[in-house]
């Protein structure tokens, strides 16, 4: 028993130590966007066509190299700043798969043995992210997705308070223009925004990491390995496994590599696609930011699409 607690603690602290710097990166990028990107800027530059918008989401995913922990605060900030919902969702789902570090890690793991895995992971990840982004934006209104009903949007902001998070920051409009833009003041606001967001996310991260570390210690590998062969079952099992163990998207391909002797390539593809898009840790963090209906819809879509795609593709 005590051994279990110790193992869970080690893995829990490991995931926390690993996630904290990336969450920090995410909240700082988010705070910088909040401070420097004006409320009018994004609607002005964003293409009106949703497909073009989705491609912008993909390109942003490449350019802002954040992993699956850091992407949540950044995506949330961008959506609140006025990017279309489909672009935000596409960015959130695609970024952890198509960022250069993850692609390189996948090449290291599969480049020599199953090179098509790298291509399928990146391209299908992108495609699924775009499709889910479009479906979500067609079926959901943007102001319905956030948890806090009090959140006001861009238009209201101009005369309520100019901070698009519910963090109770100083009302910028009360400050004189020169004062507001002084670099020192900006820095302090960035620090305060980052701190508030970091602290807020940490709570959900801790719960998510706890569940993930328990899953890692308590799910016996034999159960996994006993499920051999092809077909639907291994795909489902590896998707659930990816969801529960919540590995970082930069290292999941190394773990996936050890499955190659026991699992079909299709199920490994499912594992590699699902882990970066959603896992138990990020589900908890999402539930802390968005309303339940939106999160459930998002997760169901991810599961359904990855399941179908992984069964159709032949590698």
């Amino acid at each position: 028993m005590i051994q279990y607690i110790q193992d869970i603690s080690i893995i829990f602290i490991s995931i926390i130590l690993e996630a904290f710097p990336f969450i920090m990166l995410g909240v700082i990028i988010s705070a910088i966007i909040q401070e420097y990107v004006s409320d009018d800027f994004i609607p002005k530059v964003m293409p009106k066509n949703p497909i073009l918008g989705a491609l912008v989401g993909v390109v942003m995913g490449c350019l802002i190299p954040v992993c699956d922990c850091a992407v949540i605060p950044v995506a949330r900030r961008l959506i609140k700043k006025g990017i279309p919902l489909n672009v935000g969702v596409t960015f959130m789902l695609a970024s952890p798969i198509i960022n250069p570090i993850v692609i390189i890690a996948t090449i290291y793991s599969f480049g020599a043995t199953i090179p098509s895995m790298v291509i399928y992971r990146s391209l299908l990840g992108m495609a699924i992210a775009i499709v889910i982004g479009l479906i979500i934006s067609m079926t959901t209104k943007k102001n319905e997705i956030f948890l806090n009903e009090k959140v006001t949007f861009r238009k209201k902001h101009i005369h309520t308070h100019s901070c698009s998070c519910e963090c109770g920051q100083v009302d910028n409009n009360e400050l004189s223009q020169t004062n507001k833009n002084r670099i020192g003041n900006r820095l302090i606001r960035i620090i305060e925004h980052s701190k508030d967001e970091f602290f807020e996310i940490t709570k959900y991260l801790i719960i998510g990491c706890l569940i993930a570390s328990c899953a890692q210690v308590l799910i016996p590998r034999e159960v996994l390995i006993s499920i051999n062969g092809n077909g639907i079952i291994p795909v489902v099992i590896l998707m659930l496994f990816a969801y529960l163990i919540s590995l970082c998207s930069t290292s999941d391909s190394f773990v996936a590599k050890t499955f190659t002797s026991h699992f079909s390539n299709n199920s490994i593809l499912a594992f590699l696609l699902l882990g970066p898009m959603i896992d138990i840790k990020n589900t908890i963090v999402l539930l802390g930011n968005y309303n339940k209906k939106f999160v459930i819809k998002l997760i169901s879509l991810i599961f359904i699409f990855i399941f179908i795609v992984s069964l159709i593709v032949s590698i």
């Binding site: 110790q6 869970i8 603690s9 970091f198 290292s251 190394f254 590599k257 050890t258």
Partner: protein, 251 residues
């Protein structure tokens, strides 16, 4: 200043102290890959900055402390349960064991090349000395994974070579008949992705070995068909019981 705010400051300070303490006490190697160290230090320092800025910030916070906020204390409690130990065999089994089954393992291609070069150099040196016909491979922390991969990839050319390395003894129900696995845990990112990398070994005195005991093994490389694949199989000549290395993982 309300209780929530005080609590928040205390937690941020504690997290900062934990992150910096873990790095500077060297405990970090139990948790994550060393390349994470600069990021963890930076994160710890930023948390300290948060704490200091917050101290001078007079702004009023409307947030109230709710019961679920107690969850913030969890990492501070759990770090005391870590207790200087490494992952136990239970977890190792759950994480999967690697005994050189698949052809290219978790490794960067240029590292493989490097390993090959190293071993090739070794070969050359030893082949020059005609009296020593047996190639001898000594594995240490720096070339551990690379050499294992190199051997499993070019297995045929290594048959009969002598190999010497440190590792711990691992046994489970699937490993029987004088056999055990000697290996080490490798980490790519953090212990969440730790995997056992080692060799299947044959040793007549295996009953005297204890599970998870650290040993230095000198053995001759043979092969065996294991679960349908040809893998290296070490015929162990000599086992020396050693102290666990300071850094039990290889990266």
């Amino acid at each position: 200043m309300n209780f929530k705010k005080q609590f928040e400051r205390l937690m941020i300070l504690s997290y900062a102290i934990i992150m910096l303490f873990v790095v500077f006490s060297g405990l970090i190697s139990q948790f994550v890959h060393p390349r994470m160290i600069p990021y963890i230090i930076t994160c710890g320092i930023i948390l300290l900055v948060f704490f200091v800025t917050d101290t001078f910030n007079k702004k009023v916070v409307s947030n109230r402390f709710v019961k679920s906020d107690i969850i913030y204390i969890l990492p501070i409690i759990l770090i005391f349960f870590v207790n200087n130990g490494d992952l136990s065999a239970i977890v190792i089994a759950n994480k999967g064991i690697n005994v050189g089954k698949s052809s290219t393992e978790n490794i960067e291609s240029n590292d493989i090349k490097k390993a090959t070069e190293i071993t090739n150099e070794l070969d050359k040196v030893e082949l020059k000395d005609e009296r020593i016909k047996i190639k001898k491979i000594v594995i240490d922390d720096s070339n551990y994974v690379q050499t294992i991969i190199d051997i499993s990839e070019n297995l045929d050319s290594y048959i009969g070579s002598e190999i010497s390395f440190d590792g711990f003894v691992y046994r489970d129900d699937s490993i029987t008949n004088n056999n055990f696995v000697a290996g080490r845990l490798t980490i790519n990112c953090c212990t969440a992705d730790a995997q056992l990398f080692g060799y299947l070994c044959k040793y007549t005195g295996y009953a005297q070995l204890k599970d998870e005991e650290w040993v230095n093994i000198t053995a001759k490389i043979e092969t065996i068909i294991f679960e349908g694949k040809k893998i290296p199989y070490l015929n162990v000549g000599q086992v020396k019981i050693i102290d666990a290395p300071k850094d039990e993982y290889v990266y």
